[in-house]
């Protein structure tokens, strides 16, 4: 997956980026393309189910409407049992987007809560939460999802949403924790503390606003993960197959041999829809990355000054202040994580 850590963490750059978000013309091209494409699909998801020409589940008994190629009456043709593919697609985009956005919101809220709490409270809490996140990260998600949903999949869309959210937070939590650790020792946080602001106020009004871009990137990544995983799960049949999502359309198309029988209109549109939604999210994410970390921007333009190509030679942005003081128990727990590998290196520099 394309989980890319934005490395630059200085708040000045973040603040600058936030200003730019308001200026459409200054957005990276990739972000613009992503927003337009995603907006289109959100629009379809909202109004699509209201304008379906047919009931997506209605099986037209007329024999010559079985696997009928697209024509004026059925713009995207019909399935093997005479159902209208366009109607299924319009309903399916809604259901898939709905699932992905709910998972995105729930998992991102969890990530932020865990990541920020771990970093601000520090000590034992930090080590424990990191340990839990590491354990979740190392256990392969899809087999676990298949096992869980194998028991639960006949209960509609909610088990999938719950399980995807429950397994989708650790990566974001780790990224946000690292960022919070970098922020929390900065002067403006110290100033807020001196001014007598409560921990919760500092978290809500000082720390989190400085992480908007990271949280946004994390949300986009989670939505991407939810779409990919839910479609894959439905495709292999571990989902509520009586509802119409992009994944279940593909499942039925595949199980009825749509591709082998030449019914591309049944199989290609839902797959293309997933691919386009996915691309719009990837573009959006790369756009956010470039906004926050100018070094990743299109270098051909950025590095060419007066016709000469220059290499970026300014010092690397490093995650500063990443070595929190640890209690003995905390240090003991930390020593089991892979990131403890870097401790000695930093010290020996």
């Amino acid at each position: 997956m394309t989980a890319v850590l934005p490395v630059s963490t200085s708040p000045e750059i973040v603040a600058e980026g936030r200003q730019e978000i308001g200026h459409w013309r200054r957005l990276p091209l990739k972000a613009k393309a992503g927003i337009v494409l995603l907006g289109l699909f959100v629009l379809v998801a909202i109004i699509g189910p209201l304008v379906t020409p047919y009931d997506p589940s209605y099986q037209n008994p007329s024999l010559n409407l079985s696997m009928h190629a697209p024509d004026a009456a059925h713009l995207l043709g019909t399935t093997s049992s005479g159902q209208d593919v366009l109607s299924q697609l319009l309903v399916g985009i809604r259901l898939t987007m709905e699932l992905a956005f709910i998972v995105g919101v729930v998992a991102t809220v969890l990530s932020v809560a865990v990541g920020v709490c771990a970093a601000t409270f520090g000590g034992l809490w930090d080590e424990l939460l990191t340990l839990v996140a590491n354990v979740f990260l190392v256990i392969p998600a899809l087999p676990l999802l298949i096992v869980l949903l194998g028991y639960l999949s006949q209960h509609g869309q909610w088990p999938t949403i719950l399980v995807l959210s429950a397994l989708g937070w650790p990566w974001g939590a780790k990224v946000i924790r690292a960022q919070t650790l970098a922020i929390r020792n900065r002067d403006f946080i110290a100033a807020a503390r001196e001014a007598g602001e409560s921990s919760w106020r500092i978290i809500a009004f000082e720390i989190i606003p400085n992480e908007y871009s990271l949280i946004a990137a994390n949300f986009v990544n989670t939505v991407l993960y939810a779409i990919g995983t839910s479609v894959a799960l439905a495709f292999i049949g571990v989902a509520d197959l009586s509802s119409w999502s992009l994944g279940t359309i593909l499942y039925w198309a595949q199980s009825q041999q749509a591709l082998t029988l030449g019914a591309w209109w049944w199989f290609v549109p839902p797959g293309l829809a997933v691919a386009l939604i996915g691309t719009s999210l990837v573009l959006l994410n790369t756009g956010i990355d470039e906004l926050v970390n100018p070094r990743l921007r299109d270098a051909a333009r950025a590095n060419r000054i007066a016709g000469r190509t220059l290499r970026p030679a300014d010092p690397t942005p490093v995650l500063a202040d990443l070595q929190p003081r640890r209690s003995p128990v905390g240090a003991f727990l930390h020593s089991f994580s892979r990131s403890s590998l870097a401790d000695g290196n930093e010290a020996s520099r």
Binding site: V147, F235, T260
Partner: protein
Amino acid sequence: MSYIARRLIFYVVAAWVALTANFFIPRLVPGNAVEAIMSKFPELSPATYKALEAMLGVGHPAGLWSQYVSYLDDVAHFNFGIDVSQYPAHVSTLLGETIPWTLTLVGTATVIAFFLGTGLGILAGWRHGGWADRALPGLMFIQAIPYFFLALILIEVLAVKLHVFPIGSGYAGGLVPGWNWAFIGSAIYHSLLPAFTIVITSVAGWMLQMRNVMITTIGEDYVLAGQAKGLTNRRVVFTYAARNALLPQLQGFGLALGFVVSGAIIMEIVFSYPGIGLLLVNAVTSNDYPLTEAIFLVITFAVLLANLIVDLVLVFIDPRVRTREATA
């Protein structure tokens, strides 16, 4: 205590979490799993009924704790019970038949994708804005396509229409698995297209990550120093920049293994490849709970083991860690 020993303990904890989840999931879900199995497979004997009840904890007189202990004991002895959908085959026999297929194909394809992606990432990062860099958006689009969709289109075009590759399954029908050239040749021929699809869908991820780390590493002073000394470009790129950029890439490799496994499961469904992923999905869709749980454990343990190997490699290739390990 050395770093590796501590990591080992971490993996033991992770394995215990997976084992415990595996134990509690069937006990927490609503409905009687054993009844569901028995109604689906009426040929099962009463003894199996008892065994299933014990395994899934349905209507069992013994306390939860003693069930848990005997469950751990069974797993420790690789005793995963008797399969219900292919009764009376033992679950461990079925696992033994399918694991080599998955391991060979997915292992090879992943290693190829990793090296190819890392190489392209080095190139894209060094020649920032060059051709490899400009190919990235295209590769990212390929990555956004659902894997199975791309694979099915490729099967349709390359196998069904053009007959370049076989349509699916692990080897040609009529051959008996064994160590002879006809079978091995057929198995390799059948694995080409699945391997190809895994490589092209996963290469962009490795490439993007390596490129981004390379770009930051190239900004480091020691790279500039290397160039100032007049070293050849190749030496600066590989020995100075890439070698250091490789560390985060390898750490990412450990974390990405979960995704690799996910991709492998879908691949096996699409190609009806006789591996463990296909077995898992068939087990789930036919309510074969004993098999499902055993496969989940095997996959999880394999990923944990692979992560441990990544840790060993990390210690091995990073001289700073190596010296620290030696003195500790």
